[in-house]
């Protein structure tokens, strides 16, 4: 099916629900009026009460859009997308700029829609969000897909399950130190950034004592040492060679 004017395009749009990042709904209308308007476009749809229950906005049904908080507005936008009982739901950065609680509420809404058999296409800058919600992830950089797969596959593609971040007290990082670390057993990659180092390692319990021994032997002092399980964040950084940019 193609996205076009006329009947075929409309048939396609009957089956989609879309939330656009930039849409501002009419301020002067109430929540239930906005939803009534949107459901009037579709042949089959949820009732206003049903969709309000889906996004937990029942107590705001009579409130004007202008009085809603950012999170509530976003849930209303998702409600407008859900009202048509779509098979496919497009969400464009639904949680950007929201407080942690509102984010969790939105995640819950998305999970329920998924559990009911719907398909969601979600764009996000939060790797954590992608990791929690998505079955398949595609990482885009400069408009091109540079990697795709399940979150597990992508993380596994790093070839390691732990990441060690460390920073030195001395300014600058000696080149030969990096070479030594790279040559260590269990270390799959070393990246430098600023005056810090980031190592991806396979077996943390073996790699860590070895690392500390090397550092002590060279008389280098640490100002920071943290470790975490490899995440999609690390995948993104490894693939694009930089920290996640905003916007």
């Amino acid at each position: 099916m193609r996205w076009q004017e006329g009947a075929p395009g409309r048939a396609l749009r009957e089956r989609l629900g879309i939330q656009l990042q930039e849409t501002q709904l009419a301020d002067k209308l109430t929540v239930s009026e906005v939803l009534t308007l949107f459901r009037s476009f579709y042949r089959q749809s949820h009732t206003v009460d049903e969709v309000l229950a889906l996004v937990e906005l029942e107590e705001k049904r009579k409130a004007r859009v202008v009085t809603l908080s950012g999170g509530q507005k976003q849930r209303l936008a998702v409600a407008c997308a859900l009202v048509s009982k779509p098979e496919l739901l497009f969400l464009d950065e639904p949680t950007t700029g929201l407080d942690p609680q509102s984010r969790r509420q939105l995640w819950e809404i998305i999970r329920r829609f998924r559990a009911a058999g719907g398909t969601v296409l979600l764009t996000t800058h939060y790797m954590e969000e992608a990791e929690r919600l998505c079955d398949r992830v595609a990482i885009m950089d400069h408009g091109k897909i540079i990697a795709q797969g399940t979150p597990k596959e992508l993380i596994a593609s790093l070839g390691a399950d732990h990441v060690v971040d460390l920073a030195l007290t001395q300014p600058g990082i000696p080149e030969d130190l990096v070479d030594v670390l790279r040559a260590m057993g269990g270390v799959t990659a070393v990246r430098t950034g600023g005056d810090g180092l980031s190592l991806t390692v396979v077996e943390l319990h073996r790699a860590l004592p070895a690392l500390l021994a090397v550092l002590q032997q060279r008389g280098v002092e640490l100002s920071l040492l943290t470790t975490h399980h490899a995440s999609l964040d690390d995948v993104f950084v490894a693939l694009t060679g930089r920290q996640l940019r905003d916007t």
């Binding site: 989609l16 879309i18 656009l20 002067k28 906005v34 009534t36 308007l37 949107f38 407008c80």
Partner: protein, 340 residues
């Protein structure tokens, strides 16, 4: 579509400023202008008499006329008052039987004062009227300024609310990416545009009733033709201006941009189309162009019905102009409309 029209109306009446500009403003305007130009008959004309021998006697003679108020002034004061319009005519006695009238011949008041003063002075010197004259004063409803004004304001109001009402909400929806969002639903585009016309129709009733009712209650401005004719004309006018509003808003991306366009469309019509004064004052070469404007045609038709009591069937030409403007701009708007 019904829901679209409904939300359009809700958005409108929840905007107190908009409600005032559409309903309140024309009424305030009608009230102010109606008061300023109310028919108390021509007031007394102020004339000055140059100070000198016999000045007060002449002033008394002139002041005896029911239509004149005369005062003695020196030449410098008189010149100033003449220039600022506080006296209509300055009489300078030149001794013996000669006087000079000093006045601005382009001012209607001054012309009247010249006639009246001359009449009084000549009679005072013993002129005999040779023809017996009796005044038969008639106050014909429909000939007052307010009778002329109310239909004009009605036309202007239809123009303003059509263009503002439609233009602003379209551009606002475009700016807020609401149009883009609507495009992602199965909504029909024609429904979206028609919803504007439908909601305009509902407000039209309120507008017409408010303004005509106001004119009738306060100034006794009657509708001499049938209300059905009035309704038919206002509906056509409202459609035409909603179409024009859509055209104005079809490309603009910002409120500022569309405001400029709206003024460009409306301002010439306010001035040219005979809202506040008859367009016959414009030079003859301009008249055909002025008559081709939708507001001119609508005002003519409204006046024909309200003042002359004409039937709708006799108003083919002006109504055809109104409909043509509406249809052409709606079609163009539909073709060039920017949906995102």
């Amino acid at each position: 579509m019904y829901q679209l029209a409904l939300s359009r109306m809700r958005e409108f009446y929840r905007e107190p400023e908009a409600v005032f500009w559409v309903f309140g403003f024309p009424i305030v305007l009608a009230f102010a202008l109606g008061l300023a130009f109310r028919n108390t008959g021509p007031g007394k004309l102020q004339v000055g008499v140059a100070s000198g021998p016999g000045d007060s006697a002449m002033a008394a003679t002139l002041g005896a006329s029911p239509r004149l108020t005369a005062s003695v002034l020196d030449t410098a004061t008189a010149r100033l008052r003449l220039r600022t319009g506080r006296i209509a005519l300055f009489v300078i006695p030149r001794g013996g039987d000669s006087v000079v009238y000093r006045y601005d011949s382009t001012r209607t008041e001054s012309g009247l004062a010249r006639l009246e003063v001359d009449d009084v002075l000549q009679r005072a010197r013993g002129r005999q009227d040779l023809v017996a004259v009796r005044d038969d004063r008639v106050v014909a409803p429909g000939s007052r300024y307010i009778d002329f004004l109310i239909p004009g304001l009605l036309g202007m109001n239809l123009l303003g609310s059509g263009i503002w009402g439609v233009g602003f909400s379209v551009v606002q929806a475009r700016q807020r990416k609401l149009l883009k969002r609507y495009m992602a639903t199965p909504m029909r585009r024609s429904h979206y545009l028609l919803s504007f016309i439908l909601s305009r129709l509902v407000f039209l009733i309120v507008e017409v009733v408010a303004l005509v009712g106001f004119g009738w209650l306060l100034f006794g401005v009657a509708v001499r033709g049938s209300f059905a004719s009035l309704a038919a004309i206002t509906v056509l006018g409202s459609f035409a201006f909603a179409g024009l509003g859509l055209l104005v808003a079809s490309r603009a991306k910002t409120i500022e941009g569309v405001s400029g366009l709206m003024n460009l469309v409306m301002l010439p019509m306010w001035i040219l189309s005979g809202t506040f004064f008859s367009y016959s004052r414009f030079p003859d070469v301009m008249i055909p162009f002025v008559k081709a404007l939708p507001l001119t045609a609508l005002n003519d038709a409204l006046r024909a019905v309200m003042i002359d009591g004409a039937a709708v069937t006799t108003l083919g030409t002006p109504l055809a102009i109104v409909v043509a403007w509406g249809a052409v701009s709606f079609v163009i708007a539909l073709k060039i409309f920017r949906w995102r």
